[in-house]
Symmetry: C2
Subunit: 344 residues, 2 copies
Amino acid sequence: MATMQDVANLAQCSLSTVSYAINNTRPISAATRQRIEQAMRELDFRPNQIARSLASRRSNILALTFPGTENTLGSTIMEFVTGAAQAARERGFHLVVWPYAPAQADEMLQMSRQGLADGIIVMEVRRDDPRVRLLDEHQFPLTMIGRAEDGTDSRCVDVDFEQTAEAAVAHLAELGHTDIVLLNHSADSRDHGYGPTLRIAEGFHRVMGRRGLTGQVLWCDETPAAGRRAIDELTGRWPAVTAMVAMNEHAVIGAVGGLAGRGIAVPQTFSVLSIVTSPLMAQMAEPALTILHSPGADLGRLGVQNLLDQLDGRRPAPAPTLLPCRWEAGRSTGPVPPVIHRPR
Amino acid sequence: MATMQDVANLAQCSLSTVSYAINNTRPISAATRQRIEQAMRELDFRPNQIARSLASRRSNILALTFPGTENTLGSTIMEFVTGAAQAARERGFHLVVWPYAPAQADEMLQMSRQGLADGIIVMEVRRDDPRVRLLDEHQFPLTMIGRAEDGTDSRCVDVDFEQTAEAAVAHLAELGHTDIVLLNHSADSRDHGYGPTLRIAEGFHRVMGRRGLTGQVLWCDETPAAGRRAIDELTGRWPAVTAMVAMNEHAVIGAVGGLAGRGIAVPQTFSVLSIVTSPLMAQMAEPALTILHSPGADLGRLGVQNLLDQLDGRRPAPAPTLLPCRWEAGRSTGPVPPVIHRPR
């Protein structure tokens, strides 16, 4: 019986490319696809052999992996885990959590190859993530919450950052704000290619640009103390700014405290909109924050569904599934003040 | 070859009792111990058969289980996971997280019996916890972070709540406070027998009593909004209170906001000491909170060590291991005000 490696040899391409062609998980060129399909016919190779062989040694366990020692599993990320666990349970699977950072990709692969899970949901994906690369090399079924590499992989489910940036800026622009800053994740996360950091910055600049506005970005460590320092930087560098879009839920709490410490009233003279966050974090600030609530529970469910579709040999969606954030009103945004009286 | 069940039958006791006697994991009466030891001699039963048989089918995986859909894995709980994962890695084991609440004890047992872990660390233990009961019935190795039942089980590692209550009250008493309230977890957690809720309340009353003081307890849901409401209750019922010990890290953020909203200055006229919490949560409040830092990372390490001692047939500690919290100064406690001017 022909193997996928035989197909790859005959079609003169890599094993991964054969897998992408079979599972439609990444775009490949028409010429390559033709060579692969011809090789499959010549060898009488049936793609769903893979699904069948997987079915025979199923553990009925799905693993969700996230960088445990680097990130805190705050309430926002916990919504992903809860959504995924419930979806898995409904389909007769167990969900377990593996705390592996990208640097521990080897350990994670070892676990996968022991048959300890039928598939893996990779969270907090970096653009070039060794966990995804290794699993793909070993043909191990995976989905991603987030997007690796070029963002076309249909095994991804993610927040629609472009749409979220648009919704955030539109809300503040309607209130009359034109000088808007983005409080983003750290410069470190940007330099490591952390997808959300990069995508929200790109989206923010694009939607500001469409309105003829120039937005500023503050890169900020993920702590309230760093959020306080960001307000010092903001008031020093860009005193005309009247509104903040924040995608850094620990820092934004400190930022609101820093504004209060300088006598800058929220929302009377300064608006704060916290995005890709959870209602619990919104309540941590005074006043309670207006937010765009991360669709974590739904993404967790979709990640499980996408993975089970692969395991069952069903054809997945043709492109990544992106979900918008949900609007939840707090008391932290308001009309731009007619004249700004701000202590420097 | 004799089995543990043979020993139990001959000694006329339960299988669990034989296990407790062999592993010294719970106190049993001298008479019962004598019967078990005599049965073991008669049957030529060697206790470390258990350890050996376990060794032969080891997965090298330890599972840490916590009630995923009920609790948020905040930064404080995350310190346990990180400590346990590092300790496991150093000993050549993988740590995985199983999100099972007490009500899902059956599912957890199913995973355990599939050989998917060599032992389980149970977090957020209730006094009568079905997860612990089921695992014990099936002789599955476990340790607990927290304490089940009567609190004598040597497989437990936990925060020393008595000592923590003493340290908290001593600090506030030295500053001159005599009217002190405990902001505890919810009445619901108390009614479910959640250990930390019960132990801190008992410890608080005892250490206050030793000083001839009467402490009040506020039972509070685990949200900032509930913390704000608790301040309304506090100022209405006990206006003379000048200090709060808080063991509810989400609520305490709202409580500090609620105090500010009523013009009650922290720490000038009211002191707040947050206990069994993490430095990240301390920074969420304005002013930053003085805390007793939960020894989570060390407890995670000890939980792993205790479990591996059992797996290796080593004799565990004779009693639960309790660790104190660590003092970390913030800006939220100060001397009792000479005269209280408080808006009602």
